[in-house]
């Protein structure tokens, strides 16, 4: 018999395997919450919302709603059995408004009916009387009036004021960056199924099952062990289902408790866009001092995010903006004020990057403006200001940069994308063409990995080996398209040396792995992969010990190989091993726990090591703009991104490509507009334009950095990839500025804001021409 050797290389980890649901996706057979066959007498919920942004609720007449066809039940705040506030960190998010109305679209009541259409028609029949108050709707007014949802937080290192006074050049300016609607293709949805003794099963499209469990338990006044949340997959999340999936689950659960029926609460696209929070828009003010070469000496930032009416996650989101307003650059003297502004608008929430992008774009604006002042290519200014790992290695929050791949990535990308020759060609093109102008920019991304709220950096996993050799896997992370389940299955199959299709991944369930964090902060694979690895390793080691003893061989002579389990000179199938262990009363199941090491952060001193490590990448984008209309096109993009040792290159590249385009959307065509009464005007895909297929650059090159394993002991030395690539899109926005600047030979700094819609671009062109 040909026995496999006692050592193998990596088997499934590192392979470009298809998404575990790929076949289900393409055949329409992978079910989402709204696709489960309805239960008998299932009913459907719709939310009635405030038509006014700010005021006092005088009367809520729901008689016609009750009488409408098919209506089963109607609820308001009075019908909440338990806690009525569902604020995730701080209170301030009432499930239904009672007295004070704080934004247009705030839930006032809900109706359940026999069909979705009946519920939606019934909800329109409410008569609402509200005494209107002055609504504070815009960020600038909130800044002026110091209306905050949370106190301002400051980070300081060195002496920024003295540094500014000593600087050769000094620039004061500001830029605005818009919010972003998540536009997950599957809207918010929950299905609640009542069980015995008041228990509740909740099928929910959420990134945060444990929080849904807690919220529903609190709202229903149940203990958490009676609520089970089940998430098989989401049709996209992007942060929008981190906290803001809770309300709809709670409302459906209240109906289920009252009626004994299964209740589906699915927001229509319109309601979803009106009632759920978005990425925070920011106004970023800066006061920067630099030397004659363009090297930054000191900088003062005020980063002001529009949080909406409640805190939600805004404390941490504005913090992350502050953590990223250095991007890849050393700031010797720095003070950053992070301001959390309150407005009578929907409460803004997590969105891929979690404030980081809004901070980072401020830094890249500053770099661009320095370049104009120094009359240099912005790329030179970028290189001049990079961190290193020696004297220029301490961040504004005192974390030391220990590994820094950005200079290498930037050098390789500059060469590979032929930056200098193209720069020359673009200059020539622009000289010959008065109408169409081209622009180019190469920008880096350094993004901190870990929840900055340290306690969230924990999760668990549960692995079962059955007696037929099949493996079942659960962990705390949720699947929203990012391929987490695929990667974690690869990790577990690697350990048992089986094909990853031998590992069945089932829905994330709070009754299997408890007390988990949201799947967020790009940390899904880092944490859940590691937890699952621990569980799988524990079972494997247990089996090795058992087999060694049972077969009287040295433990080194027991090996899990793709051909089976080699025990001395015999080869057993995994099924044989499992069965033998079972007969000998060896446990084949393991629950495990992982906590990210090394991290700590003291917010009172704004110092510590909030991040386990940094993800790095860089992108070069070339655009063309039409100076008559402000229209633009992406012409070419080149990206090198560092994912450490990739667990699945296909999935990682998918995250990079998709993140980049999502970021391009944020910075160009995606424009949120409200009217003067606080009504969202861009309330559907007809008016809110996420990128479509025609927006992708015709030339697009993405590669992984490769050969740079994570210096930290992450899962298989990989690096997180969920959020960082979004910020690669800043290069496209800077390239648009470069194109505009060419109109006046880069003598005048174009005060471009984001999103750079055709209108914003034309406005900036007019500013430069004036």
């Amino acid at each position: 018999m040909n026995l496999p050797p006692f050592s193998t290389g990596k088997l499934t980890v590192g392979r470009a395997m298809a998404h575990d649901s790929a076949v289900g996706h393409v055949s329409g057979e992978a079910p989402y919450v709204d696709d489960y066959l309805p239960r008998t007498k299932q009913s459907y919920a719709c939310i009635g919302m405030s038509p006014i942004a700010h005021g006092t609720l005088l009367e809520l007449d729901l008689e016609e709603v009750h009488k409408a066809e098919g209506v089963i039940d109607v609820i308001t705040a009075d019908d909440i059995p338990g806690k009525s506030d569902i604020g995730p960190v701080f209170s301030g998010d009432p499930l239904f408004a009672t007295d004070t109305i704080q934004h247009l679209g705030q839930p006032l009541f809900a109706v359940a009916a026999n069909s979705m259409r009946q519920a939606r028609k019934a909800a329109l029949k409410a008569k609402v009387q509200i005494r209107e108050s002055r609504a504070l709707l815009d960020l600038d007014t909130a800044i002026q009036e110091k209306e905050y949802v949370r106190p301002t937080h400051t980070m300081t290192r060195g002496d920024a004021d003295a540094g500014l006074d000593d600087s050769f050049h000094r620039i004061q300016g500001f830029m605005r960056v818009g919010g972003q609607e998540h536009f997950y293709l599957e809207g918010q949805v929950s299905l609640t199924v009542p069980g015995e003794n008041g228990s509740m099963s909740i099928y929910c499209s959420t990134q945060n099952p444990s929080e849904i469990q807690k919220m529903v338990a609190q709202v229903l006044d149940l203990s958490m062990n009676r609520v089970n949340v089940i998430v098989r997959r989401m049709g996209g999340g992007f942060g929008g289902k981190e906290t803001q999936a809770a309300a709809w689950a709670c409302i459906a659960a209240i109906f289920s408790t009252r009626t004994g029926r299964a209740v589906l609460c699915r927001l229509s696209r319109h309601d979803d866009m009106i009632m759920t929070g978005k990425r925070h828009n920011f106004r970023n003010d800066y006061d920067v001092g630099f030397d004659a070469d363009g090297r930054i000496q000191a900088i003062l930032y005020r980063l002001a995010g529009q949080c909406g009416f409640s805190p939600d996650l805004s404390d941490a989101i504005v913090d992350r903006a502050m953590f990223h307003c250095d991007n890849a650059y050393y700031l010797p003297n720095v003070r950053i004020d992070g301001v959390r502004c309150k407005t009578h608008t929907v409460s803004n929430t997590a969105f891929r990057g979690f404030g980081g992008p809004q901070g980072m774009i401020a830094m890249e604006t500053v770099i661009d403006e320095i370049a104009y002042r120094c009359q240099k290519d912005p790329l030179e200014i970028r290189k001049l200001n990079f961190y290193d790992t020696e004297n220029r290695s301490v961040t504004p929050y005192y974390q030391k940069i220990e590994c820094f791949n950005i200079p290498k990535i930037m050098d390789e990308l500059e060469r590979e994308c032929d930056y200098q020759n193209r720069r020359k060609a673009i200059r020539e093109f622009n000289q010959d063409n008065p109408v169409i102008k081209r622009g180019l920019a190469l920008t880096p991304v350094k993004f901190g990995i870990s929840f900055t709220t340290t306690f969230l950096n924990q999760t668990g996993a549960l692995v079962h080996l059955y007696t037929d050799g099949s493996i079942h896997l659960n962990h705390g992370g949720t699947e929203m398209g990012q391929g987490l389940m695929t990667k974690v299955a690869q990790i577990v199959s690697e350990i048992f040396a089986v094909d990853s299709d031998k590992v069945v991944i089932s829905a994330t369930r709070t009754d299997k792995v408890p007390n988990t964090p949201p799947t967020a902060a790009s940390a899904g694979t880092d944490m859940n992969g590691m937890a699952a690895r621990y569980a799988a390793l524990e079972i494997r080691e247990r089996l090795i010990r058992f087999l060694a003893k049972q077969h009287e061989v040295n433990e080194q002579r027991v090996m899990f190989t793709p051909h089976g389990v080699r025990v001395g000179d015999s080869l057993l199938t995994l099924a044989e091993v499992a069965k033998e262990a079972w007969l000998n009363r060896i446990s084949l199941s393991e629950a495990s726990f992982y906590r990210t090491p090394k991290i700590h952060y003291d917010r009172t001193t704004a110092s510590g090591r909030p991040f386990y490590y940094f993800a790095n990448g860089a992108a070069a984008s070339e655009v063309a703009i039409d100076t008559l209309t402000g229209e633009y096109r992406l012409l070419r993009t080149d990206i090198i991104h560092d994912v450490g040792d990739s667990i699945n290159p296909a999935i990682d590249i998918g995250q990079i490509e998709g993140g980049y385009i999502q970021g391009v959307g944020w910075l160009t065509s995606e424009e949120l507009k409200w009217d003067s009464a606080g009504r969202l005007l861009s309330d559907g895909p007809a008016t809110y334009k996420i990128p479509a297929v025609g927006d992708v650059p015709p030339e697009f090159h993405v590669r992984l950095l490769g050969k740079h394993p994570n210096e930290e002991e992450t899962i298989y030395r990989s690096k997180a990839v969920g959020e960082p690539p979004l910020m690669l899109a800043i290069s496209a926005w800077c390239a648009i500025r470069d194109a505009i600047g060419s109109i006046r030979d880069h003598q005048i700094f174009p005060r471009l804001n984001a999103p750079a819609t055709p209108e914003e671009i034309l406005k900036t062109i007019n500013q430069v021409k004036a």
Binding site: A22, G28, I436, T629, R633
Partner: protein, 478 residues
């Protein structure tokens, strides 16, 4: 009873409500839940399915938005949904390509993409697909994906188009043709609130007898009343089976476009002769919308931001309105009275539009300005028919969408340009004249200032383009 093929199952269905959408029928009545609802407004493509009809050269497979299509309009056709694509256990080549190229992430938009790719695949089998890159973008223009950034989906399209061999649908095509051919017209003898007349006389009578019934053309706008405003449409007269309305006739001097000519067909019929019209039509709505949306519908809903009407007005089109009492032909520009107010009477319908064939030396210039390239509504749409001889403008008709409450001619601007040399001094005067022609509004798409600035700047663009050796003036030329 409406009759159609649902995948390979013949369906006879007595409709309770005439405004039931295909998507709701699939999901709520048939429990076919592979087809998803992403927006219920025809803007995201998650609900895309494929409609099969007998064409001149065999069956034609068109992708469409099932969320804004009423079930009754399927009568006599085959509906293919994502559940039907596999051949037993084997994935269809477009499905396999999506798996191979990692074309799905969250997967929610995927069935819609698969159906658009399927429609592209079937069309490419007929040899009509010439430029892969262009056609892929066109066929996918109405499908939004929030995860992938589209690259792997485009690669999947390329993979499936590399060798679009016969699939199980080729084998079944004769049988499907036979079944469809045997489906009779909808009978008016049954009590119904969904009427599908087959001739204009019958239509005129119905229109007269049932003044409250809504006329349904492509439905891409009308259906929004049902899916977005949750209103009921109690009675519908569907125009899709009226033969005369689908006519397209062309003589030496005149082009007659039946009201039910789809935007896709308009492109096929006129695109070669009017390249800027083709370019506009490639950006008109999405592929799915162009497969359903009609010229008559675009006129009848009287939207100030409809893209076809400025073009037709610039081309001096007339509009034929017909009723039981007869026909009348009016200049199209007179059709629009005010915001969504039109000339049409309660018992009339639009029969066709007629365009005088422009002389060879006429230039049809069209500029559509929107936030997004594909599937976006114009902030400003300019159309102008111009003749410049010896540097002098000897003919000009110019109309704008997005600049007023109706699609409207720029009369003052035209006058300023006419009989004058096409040069910067005159252009500046023409720009000033636009201030007299229009007072645009600010809305979600653009501010009034932007609209006016762009409208003026577009005169520069046109002047440059007509001046002979023009620099690059449009970014899609790069």
């Amino acid at each position: 009873m409406i009759q159609f093929l649902l995948n390979n199952t013949p369906i006879s269905y007595q409709m309770e409500r005439p405004d039931l959408t295909v998507l709701d029928y699939l999901r709520e009545y048939r429990y076919l839940r592979g087809t998803k609802e992403g927006c219920a407004s025809g803007d995201c493509g998650a609900c895309t399915a494929v409609l099969v009809e007998q064409g001149e050269h065999g069956l034609e497979y068109r992708n469409f938005n099932s969320c804004i299509t009423f079930l009754g309009s399927l009568h006599g056709k085959q509906l293919i949904t994502v559940e039907h694509l596999k051949d037993n256990d084997r994935l269809h080549p477009v499905q396999q390509a999506m798996v191979d190229q990692h074309g799905s992430q969250c997967g929610f938009c995927t069935p819609g993409f698969v159906m658009s790719l399927f429609s592209l695949y079937k069309t490419s089998q007929t040899g009509q697909i010439t430029n892969h890159e262009e056609n892929i973008r066109e066929y996918l223009s109405g499908n939004l994906c929030r995860c992938t950034g589209y690259f792997p989906i485009v690669r999947a399209a390329e993979q499936s188009l590399a060798d679009p061999g016969p699939d199980q649908f080729n084998n079944a095509s004769r049988e499907v043709s036979d079944i469809l051919a045997k489906i009779d017209d909808l009978s008016e003898s049954e009590p119904t609130n969904f009427h599908a007349p087959t001739g204009v006389r019958e239509l005129a009578r119905l229109r007269n007898d049932r003044p409250n019934a809504r006329l349904l053309a492509g439905g891409t706008d009308l259906a929004l009343e049902v899916t977005q405003q949750h209103r009921d449409l109690h009675e519908i007269i569907y125009l899709g089976r009226v033969q005369e309305l689908r006519a397209f006739n062309r003589t030496e001097t005149r082009i007659e476009i039946g009201a039910m000519v789809t935007l896709d067909r308009l492109d096929i019929e006129l695109g070669d002769d009017f390249p800027e019209l083709r370019a506009l039509l490639k950006r008109f709505g999405s592929r799915q919308i162009r497969n359903l949306g009609t010229v008559g519908g675009n006129i009848a809903n009287a939207s100030p931001i409809a893209d076809i009407t400025p073009v037709l007005i610039a081309m001096n089109a007339t509009c034929v309105l017909e009723s039981f009492e007869g026909q009348r032909e009016i200049p199209l520009e007179n059709y629009f009275h005010g915001y969504r107010q039109t000339e049409i009477r309660d018992n009339e319908f639009i029969r066709c539009v007629n365009i005088p064939v422009p002389a060879n030396n006429m230039h049809l210039k069209i500029c559509k300005i929107s936030k997004r390239l594909d599937d976006d509504i114009s902030a400003v749409c300019l159309a102008a028919l111009i003749n410049v001889e010896d540097g002098k403008t000897i003919h000009i008709r110019m109309a704008f969408g997005g600049m007023a409450a109706i699609p409207k001619r720029a009369i003052h601007c035209e006058k300023t340009l006419l009989d004058q040399p096409l040069e910067p001094r005159v252009i500046e005067q023409a720009k000033a004249a636009l201030d007299r022609d229009f007072q645009p509004i600010s809305d979600v798409r653009a501010s009034a200032t932007y609209r006016m600035d762009v409208a003026k700047n577009l005169l520069d663009r046109i002047c440059l383009e007509l001046s002979g050796n023009s620099p690059v003036t449009r970014i899609d030329q790069l």
